[in-house]
């Protein structure tokens, strides 16, 4: 009887651990970096030690439940203490903990091996998007962009079929090269967010006013996805992180062309636009940057996020509207978009707000107006 039970417990334990170790959707990801593999191994070590202890301890408990029953006529024993036993089960667990602490410390120390990076990227969390800036003196740190979730509303509200990467797709990926040590400097603009790429085994909080450091070296090209993991308000569930790891040469080519196209765009930024161009660009900017709070229909979410439809600001003097959007409203969720958008985007989104949702001001806002306003300040 005793033997049989032991065999059964052993069998279950083996099955469980084997099953859990192989079925990857049931377990932590092994990931694609040296660190993530070390983390995975550590996870499995600790997990299996826990399973082993659990099988023994709960095995004893269940044995007792089966064997020491009144219905079997067992008379209760009278022992109620044993210093030896108490010492044993204080000392043995302590030793096991030391065995666990050694590899844990090693992996942690390896993770803290910062410095010697080949490139640095600033990661900045906003409600509810990420901004990535390539820190590169050669280009005056000019390459910076936002990465916003691109899963359409229809999919979220079950009006159309959900795509494979539902909630994990963004308008522009963060791109990094293989085999180079990339340092991420993580911070936030408004509330606390957390930047996590499970396949790299790295996660760090993005805290306003603080710069946190992470690094990674990825060997395998591919697309890797994660999510914000610190509650950051309404759309916390909708700010994914997507990275494309490119072979080194490919990355260098992409980077050069991305920097060039950015500077070309900067040169023509002040060009005047037609009403139609402004409305088209404005609608796109609004959908990406404003609709999460003011809603796609401009109705807002009273009383926290005011409506744009019928708003006194959106129907009042143009320059007041422009400067509110450029400077934000301190102490509220309304950010200073002058730091996020360029003058063409700012002009067009303001133009759009003044001429959509039933607002019908009819005036024009041009990139040059934004530049003048900014310079005048």
């Amino acid at each position: 009887m005793k033997h049989q039970l032991l065999r059964i417990f052993g069998g279950i334990a083996a099955l469980l651990s084997a099953g859990i170790a192989t079925a990857d959707e049931l377990n932590l990801r092994v990931g694609v970096t040296d660190i993530s593999r070390q983390v995975y191994d550590l996870h499995m070590t600790i997990f299996l030690i826990c399973v082993a202890i659990g099988v023994v301890v709960l095995g004893v408990l269940f044995w007792s439940v089966f064997a020491h029953r009144k219905s079997k006529g067992v008379e209760p024993a009278t022992f109620h203490e044993s210093t030896k036993l108490e010492l044993a089960w204080t000392i043995v667990p302590t030793l096991i903990l030391i065995v666990m602490a050694i590899p844990a410390t090693q992996v942690l120390v390896a993770m803290y091996d910062t410095g010697g990076e080949d490139m640095s990227i600033e990661v900045r969390g906003y409600q509810w998007k990420w901004q990535y800036k390539y820190l590169d003196d050669d280009y005056n740190n000019t390459l910076s962009f936002f990465s916003v979730m691109s899963t359409p509303r229809d999919e979220i509200y079950n009006q159309s079929a959900k795509a494979e990467n539902y909630l994990l797709e963004v308008d522009e990926y963060l791109r990094i090269p293989t085999n180079r040590k990339v340092r991420f400097l993580i911070t936030a603009e408004d509330v606390i967010h957390a930047w996590w790429v499970p396949d790299f085994g790295i996660k760090r909080d993005a805290v306003p006013g603080m710069l946190n450091e992470l690094w990674t070296i990825v060997e395998e090209p591919g697309i890797y996805r994660g999510q914000c993991t610190e509650l950051c308000g309404k759309d916390h569930g909708f700010m994914p992180i997507v990275l494309e790891v490119m072979p080194e040469a490919e990355f260098d080519a992409w980077y050069a062309s991305r920097v060039t196209s950015e500077s070309v765009r900067q040169e023509s930024i002040a060009d005047a636009l037609t009403h139609e161009e402004l409305m088209a660009q404005g609608e796109a900017v609004y959908g990406t940057y404003c609709a999460s709070c003011h809603l796609a229909n401009g109705e807002g979410v009273a009383p926290v996020f005011p409506a744009i439809a019928g708003s006194a600001v959106a129907q009042g003097p143009r320059d007041d509207h422009l400067s509110l959007v450029i400077n934000g409203v301190a102490g509220t969720a309304m950010q200073a978009f002058g730091k996020q958008l360029d003058s063409a985007q700012l002009a067009s989104v303001v133009h759009y707000q003044r001429n959509a949702f039933g607002n019908d001001v009819g005036d024009m806002s041009q990139p040059q107006d934004v530049i003048n306003l900014s310079n005048g300040q």
């Binding site: 049931l26 029953r69 009144k70 109620h80 950051c232 979410v301």
Partner: protein, 534 residues
């Protein structure tokens, strides 16, 4: 004159409960107040449960079906706050009110009027907090841990009501704790030395000290929030030179002991029930007491394990990892002692025993996931995912909550003089047991697979686990409504209970008649070793 004295005297003897509503409003009787606490916490438990079911209904499938993200965040936040401060904590205070005086042989709590006040604050505190859900802009939506600046600069206007509600809860807890400490230290029957006190009394004594130590810290945190919001200070506002991370340090300096506040009395309860149904004395009483004391001490030096990802220096990470791992030692001692108590006992498996055994098994599992979370480098992967949600629900639901349910079944005959229906009790147990595991076990997997917590919608690969979890949650929720039915039915028509309602039950409370008279131990009882030591 003599007539007056006579009348007084007479009054004294016939002094039973007042009639009607006044009895409950003005009562200073520990049993009445215990009852009030228990019913209050049960009501909160049902409300918190409904919020949980809103969450689970929304998460049943990917996509947004029932609620909007801003409302979803209010549900998770208020579910947490109500369950922690409204259900679990008041339930333990209710049990302490009922049991501590009877177990130490005292006539009542040391400070009966304050006892009344500490209860009656609570309905107002929770009334205020729940009313925020109906205010413009909604209620608290920043998680039960209310990290700044999401809970300050970016909070809905109702946050001020939340802050005052927390202040009221804190005042209530501190008063309750002072009362419990004063009762235990001053009112024990002659002969009941500290090392002869029942485990429930021991665990509550230590819990009460923890509460007095940390509730003021919580009050400090919310007061700083209040100032940041209304008086333009910048405690937690980086733009003004403040530090959002400091908020987390303060919150968790309160929060980690708080976690043990919710589990130590559970340890006490289980240490009564297992010996009673194993018909064998508690194994290792002395080491049990020391284990509780060391857990309480350690609870003050592990707080930052909740914040491994905020970006602490390596030395800090290592310190908090090691200290957290150490907690496994005294916790292990407790589990080993319970199992040794069962070992070679003569066990029967009435409902309280079933809940107590489930407590030991499932709490141990929660302990293992806790140990895994303590390992900093892997915690980076688990942190703020459903793995954490699974972990703390395993220690709070089949942990704290099961112990409370076990206590209700165990002492029910003493409180009411009636026996509950054993078959219904067992059905309740099995439904709860299945429900809890179906709900929370799959969450380990969704967490490992990478699902963040506190999201109203999720990528498709997490769909299966969430569906199972939601089914379990509804089973569990309905089985607690069934619990209400079992209790009401048993109060109405349970069979009369014996004074010592369980064959193996030991302790002064079992020497009293069932139901326990309105005033018990007006004369101190004789404390016999074989009674108090079991």
């Amino acid at each position: 004159m003599s007539e007056v004295i006579h009348a007084d005297h007479h009054d004294d003897h016939a002094h039973g409960p007042a009639k009607g509503l006044k009895r409950w409003l003005f009562t200073t009787n520990h049993k009445d107040i215990g009852t009030l606490y228990l019913w209050f916490s049960f009501a909160m438990f049902l409300i918190g449960g409904v919020l949980a079911l809103v969450i689970r209904a929304e998460l049943f499938q990917p996509g947004l079906q029932f609620v909007q993200p801003e409302f979803f965040n209010q549900m998770t936040t208020n579910h947490g706050l109500i369950m922690v401060f409204g259900a679990i904590m008041p339930a333990f205070v209710g049990l302490a009110n009922w049991l501590v005086p009877m177990q130490v042989g005292a006539p009542d709590m040391a400070l009966p009027r304050m006892n009344n006040l500490s209860f009656w604050i609570l309905p107002f505190a929770f009334g205020m907090m729940i009313s925020t859900l109906f205010m413009e802009g909604g209620g608290p939506n920043f998680g039960w841990t209310f990290y700044a600046p999401l809970s300050t600069t970016y909070a809905p206007p109702s946050v001020t009501y939340f802050i005052f509600a927390v202040h009221l809860m804190g005042a209530s807890s501190i008063m309750g704790s002072i009362n419990i400490i004063a009762t235990i230290l001053n009112m024990r029957a002659p002969g009941m030395t500290l090392m002869k006190m029942p485990m429930f009394v021991w665990t509550w004594l230590i819990t009460a000290y923890l509460l007095i130590a940390v509730m003021p810290v919580l009050a400090g945190a919310v007061t700083m929030m209040l100032f940041d919001i209304h008086f333009n200070t910048s405690f937690f506002n980086a733009a003004g030179g403040g530090d959002p991370v400091m908020f987390q340090h303060i919150l968790w300096f309160f929060g980690h002991p708080e976690v043990y506040i919710m589990i130590l009395p559970a340890f006490g309860i289980v240490s009564h029930i297992i010996p009673a149904f194993a018909r064998k004395r508690l194994f290792g009483y002395t080491s049990m007491v020391y284990a509780v004391a060391s857990i309480a001490f350690l609870s003050f030096i592990v707080w930052a394990h909740h914040m491994f990802t905020v970006g602490m220096p390596l030395a800090g990470q290592l310190f908090f990892m090691y200290s957290t791992m150490l907690i496994a030692v005294p916790t292990g001692v407790k589990v080993f002692n319970w199992i040794s108590t069962m070992w070679r006992g003569s066990m029967t498996f009435e409902t309280p025993m079933l809940f107590a055994i489930a407590f030991v098994v499932l709490f141990t599992m929660g302990g293992f996931s806790g140990l895994m979370l303590a390992i900093t480098p892997v915690d980076y992967q688990y942190h703020d995912t459903y793995f954490v949600v699974a972990h703390f629900h395993y220690v709070l639901v089949p942990g704290a909550l099961f112990s409370i349910i076990a206590a209700v079944y165990f002492w029910f005959p003493k409180w009411t003089g009636k026996m509950y229906d054993e078959t219904l009790g067992k059905i309740h147990f099995w439904l709860s047991f299945v429900g809890v595991n179906v709900t929370f076990f799959p969450q380990h997997f969704s967490g490992l697979a990478g699902m963040p917590r506190r999201i109203p919608d999720y990528p498709l690969q997490f769909a299966d686990f969430n569906m199972i979890s939601s089914v379990g949650a509804f089973i569990f929720g309905l089985s607690q409504v069934f619990f209400l039915y079992v209790i009401i039915k048993s109060i109405r028509s349970g069979a009369p209970a014996a004074d010592r309602s369980w064959e193996g039950a030991k302790g002064l409370e079992w020497t009293l008649p069932s139901p326990a008279p309105y005033h018990s131990f007006t004369h101190p009882p004789v404390v016999k070793d074989e009674e108090v030591l079991g």
